[in-house]
Subunit: 228 residues, 2 copies
Amino acid sequence: MIDDLRGSALFGGLDEESLGRLAGIARPVRVEAETSVFSQHDPAAAFYLLAAGAVKVFKLFRDGRTATLRHVRPGETFGESVLFHDAYPSSAETMEDSLLYRFDTREFRALLLAEPRLGVNLLGAMARLMLLLNNRVEELLLPVPARLARYLLSLADEQLDAPVAPGAPRVVKLPTAKKELAARLGTVPETLSRTFDRFKRAKVIRMSGGGELIEVLDFPALRRLAQE
Amino acid sequence: MIDDLRGSALFGGLDEESLGRLAGIARPVRVEAETSVFSQHDPAAAFYLLAAGAVKVFKLFRDGRTATLRHVRPGETFGESVLFHDAYPSSAETMEDSLLYRFDTREFRALLLAEPRLGVNLLGAMARLMLLLNNRVEELLLPVPARLARYLLSLADEQLDAPVAPGAPRVVKLPTAKKELAARLGTVPETLSRTFDRFKRAKVIRMSGGGELIEVLDFPALRRLAQE
DNA sequence: CGGCTCCTTGAGGTTAATCAATCCTGGTGG
DNA sequence: CCACCAGGATTGATTAACCTCAAGGAGCCG
């Protein structure tokens, strides 16, 4: 458990003693896929660290539509805003069987007072979240093709690990089903499909691997599309 | 100047000595209306406290479109994210002649280390900003009528000061020109005008005072519209 | 009385959601 | 091994929301 904590952004850089105290209040929770962790407007009780699996944070609307704000990856925390507000601002649900650590709001606040370093880390984490929300706002004001282009560029950026010749076409792997991607881009599968099609016809990308591998053929064009 | 600092959310509750040190690094800047304070992607150099006047924070797009994120009011700070990032995530411009206090990033960071209370306040300020951005995201996913309804409800909430009989129609005053309001709602003046018209025809509101006074006739209907 | 700027109104076009099939693909059981 | 099934993905047709362009008002200040 200690290793899980140490590996996370929020708790990285803490000394062994602090980690020990954190471990004291962390409650491991195993959750199977497609299960709600908390819902928007629920009273604020706890936030979570995702140790393994996958979680999405999303807004749910009256009419049943959902819009994904963020895909949480192992090592990241979610729901931190309960530390400052009385209710969750959005909902969270597992996408795969997952291992979470649950931190009770009250207990964590107490620890926060005792551990200055934790406060600093928290500021950093919030700053990251703000940047993320900021990007979401910006994206939502852009047309769908621009959103998709940005997403592909960010994916390509992340998946730099594979050694590729510079300028050469690069293959990126979609980490989720297209259905999920559509929600993440604030659109519907039909529109996503048509947008992919436009990119293909414009020779900006090519698709392979049964649709889950995207080969970027024309980075400059993709960047241009991302601008608007 | 000290009073201006004390009155702000970010610096409230600090003792006289801390306020004095803050005053030491605060640089007053007078800016006339319609003037840029900083632009998106500018290198991060400083953030600001608005002491008097009005400022808007917005995103500017390639094609010249702008989307207002936030109207800053006296006592509020803006541009705080430079404390964590290298560039401004959005642009800011005065809407009226304004008095700003400018805080150099480097100097403020130094003070932050020396003043624990300042860090706590900063966390609170960031939490508020996150909530704001969160609302923006939520709003942008809603149709224009819902956005306008939410805006009117929040205005009515703010302008509670006037003593009104409960349940009676309440008059709210638009704090900006409709043009600005349209930008703030992420739409254009034409659409805003038509939406107001729909509300009027549905007997949800009535307009007076040359268009700057909105009388809410039917709160339940407005709340229903806000849901989507 | 111009000449502003803002607001409104009208007509037309564009984007993307919705509704409705159809097509794959992987998994299952015969 | 293969027919079948279920879910996701695609494609087509239609519709709705909203933007754009263009043309009037209406108030305001010189």
